[in-house]
């Protein structure tokens, strides 16, 4: 499916999605956190889209917002798509976990939790994966300060 066909199909599911192809090689969908799990499971289960391969899951700090970027590919139709979800809550950012849809998300969400402090509902084993258990702060956030370990140029 081409990007425009995908956009037509997916926008018919939910009217609150934002589509964009600017500044990216993929079709980007921005979804509100409450629709995330519904949209992603639909993306996987629908025959025409069948995005069964989550090839990248990235945590993002956009400055004001925290977000997660999901790179999806269909191994059947070979098309790709990017799903983005953002929240302005920096104190207690929470999204729904997608690890029941793609098993690989279990590890990647742990990584995002470790570095950005984003929590995922229904995650079976959310813990600090790389950093020590007693580490304070989330190092990949833009406002993270560590005067001892960080070399700023």
């Amino acid at each position: 499916m081409t990007n425009s066909e995908l956009q037509t199909l997916i926008s018919s599911w939910n009217s609150e999605l934002e589509f964009s192809e600017a500044e990216s090689q993929f079709l980007n969908i921005t979804v509100k956190p409450e629709y995330l799990h519904q949209l992603t499971s639909q993306l996987k289960s629908t025959k025409e889209t069948s995005f069964d391969f989550l090839f990248c899951l990235t945590g993002m700090d956009w400055g004001a917002d925290l977000g997660v970027v999901y790179h999806l590919e269909s191994t059947i139709h070979k098309h790709q798509i990017v799903v983005k979800v953002n929240t302005s809550d920096r104190e207690n950012p929470t999204f729904d976990s997608v690890c029941d849809i793609w098993y690989t998300a279990e590890f990647h969400e742990m990584e995002v939790f470790d570095f950005f402090g984003i929590k995922f509902n229904n995650h079976p084993n959310l813990k600090r994966l790389f950093m020590p258990k007693d580490w304070v702060g989330f190092p990949l956030r833009k406002d993270y300060v560590d005067e001892v370990n960080m070399v700023i140029k």
Partner: protein, 373 residues
Amino acid sequence: MTTTTENNAFKSQEYFINMGPQHPATHGVLRLLLTIDGEIIKNIDPDLGYIHRSIEKMCERDSYQQIVHLTDRMDYLSAHINNEAVCLAVENALGLEVPERVKVIRTIIAELTRLASHQLWWGVMGMDVGALTTYFYGFRDREMINDIFEETCGARLTMNYNIPGGLMFDLHPNFVQRVKDFIAHFKTKLPEYDTLLTGNVIFQKRTQGVGILTKEDAISFGTTGPVARASGFSCDVRKHHPYSAYDRVQFNEALFTVGDTFTRYQVRIQEMWESMAIIEQLIDNIPDGEFKTPTNAVIKLPKGEFYQRVETARGELGVFIVSDGKKNPYRLKFRSPGFSNLSALKKMAVGSKLGDLVAIMATLDIVVPDIDR
């Protein structure tokens, strides 16, 4: 209270065991918390981060030329391919056309890297299942490739041969002849590998039917590379999203269907043959020309998001660059193949024996710096 614990102690035969961070089978500082009942594995909980260096955070600080040097230290066995991933991402973002010569040389060296990585894996695989001699056979042949690399760019492992826009230096005059010598040598040695290990009954018994990963699970766990192709998941980036010179060479994607430890082994053996075929097609036709396209001393990517996928020896490496137009990336994410492959370990190994876990880990071909980054 005490009575219940005592009762539980009698009911449950399970106990905890720490595999790693210093353990011969984890090949680095990976720590697995195992729950074991006798010899049977009940649960696996990986504990990562023993050599986490926060490369992604360092990338946000560094310029793009500097980032290339950091990628060597991720998957050090595919150092060249990691470099290539970042360089390709930067070149695509800039719309920079690199000379044909660079594309061909990058492809040849990437395939040599893959061969070297698989040779090391083969040696270590044998060692993990108890055949210690294989280690030295694998290293004997890998040494020739390392010598070629040393002559080409001065380094044997962390090569730094790529820069955004091309290569650091031109090829050494001996390069073509030495690669041809190596291919001729290795074509006689690769069947030796089969005689020593593949055909061995004990080895086959140890690996066949062990650690099965179905195709659905392989896709869902995001496994790539030989691990996924053994399960029948056609995921070779060189085929599906060709980069450098892969669009002009003929090669087969090593695909199997069973998905057990033995087929993961077979995929890599077949990949070694395919890599040699790719090199043979290119080695006589290296185009003349420049070895780099000049770039600005300070590279500034346009605003936007850029994603580049390459096939390392372990699977798909993704580089996701978010740029805000400055000389360093706003955010750079490495989607490392080992990390996703490791997440499937629990699925494969739970229910099998301790000895099987070692064999499964060997065929995952884990490089811990690649997972920890």
